[in-house]
């Protein structure tokens, strides 16, 4: 029962954060809403029993990637967005279609039957994840380290000012 209440509370927080993300005018408010969404999703991971991934989500996504976004918004002094030509067709046709789609999904969800299987009481999920990551998936793991190195070099090269410019 507690799980149901927590699920609906976290789902509500996540959806309202996402709606706030697309409706806010200033990018910094959108960034804060995205942080709220990420923390809510970390809570949902905890409900699903994925504790390590929940912690990694908060540390990496919420504590590093979103900090990068907030830095860039502050450095570029991004202001509130200006009003541009807004497509009427999108509002008049798209929104009702989206509502129909959502109603269809809700109907499908109510006929879904598989509930959460109980936790198998595994000893440490971190241990199992680590064994799998370093044994079966060791090659993709090493590849991601090269990917991160390429990303660091790319970001440095792109954002560096040339020595000729001021």
């Amino acid at each position: 029962m507690i799980v149901t209440i927590l699920f609906f509370a976290l789902a509500l927080i996540a959806i309202s954060g996402a709606v706030s993300l697309i409706l806010q005018r200033h990018p910094i408010h959108s960034a804060l809403s995205l942080i709220v969404v990420m923390v809510a999703i970390a809570g949902l991971y905890l409900l699903l029993g994925a504790q390590f991934i929940a912690a990694v989500q908060i540390i990496v996504y919420g504590g590093a990637i979103m900090v990068l976004f907030v830095f860039v918004i502050m450095l570029l002094n991004a202001g509130a967005e200006e009003r541009t030509n807004f497509s009427r067709m999108a509002a008049y046709v798209g929104l009702p279609l989206a509502v129909v789609l959502a109603a269809g999904m809700a109907w499908w969800a109510s006929t879904g039957s598989q509930s959460l299987p109980t936790l198998s009481g595994e000893v440490t999920q971190t241990h199992a994840l680590a064994m799998m990551l370093f044994q079966e998936y060791a090659f993709p793991f090493e590849l991601t380290s090269i990917l991160v190195l390429i990303a660091i070099l790319g970001a440095l090269t792109l954002a560096k000012r040339e020595s000729g410019q001021e």
Binding site: E81, L129, L133, T144
Partner: protein
Amino acid sequence: MVPISYFIVLSAVLFGLGVIGFLFRRNIITMFMSIELMLNAVNLAFVAFSRAFSQLQGQIFVFFVIVVAAAEAAVGLAIVILIARNRQTLNVERVNLLKL
């Protein structure tokens, strides 16, 4: 208890909201954040399925998605800084020099 389909519907709703944000916003950084929202929704679906079938591969994939999102955010934001420096605007409709 909560059926797994609820989690999948939530993931689909968040993904849809990310798509709406990407299509309707004009600020590059906000579009980028909508992409991150879509990636998060997909991660949620992965973890939900990993729990439903009691396999850990879903969580391993989430791990890799988070790493790739971090790398992409770093390079993407560097490009955004370059655009802001060269075109003095963050409006994606103004970056249209290659348009026919």
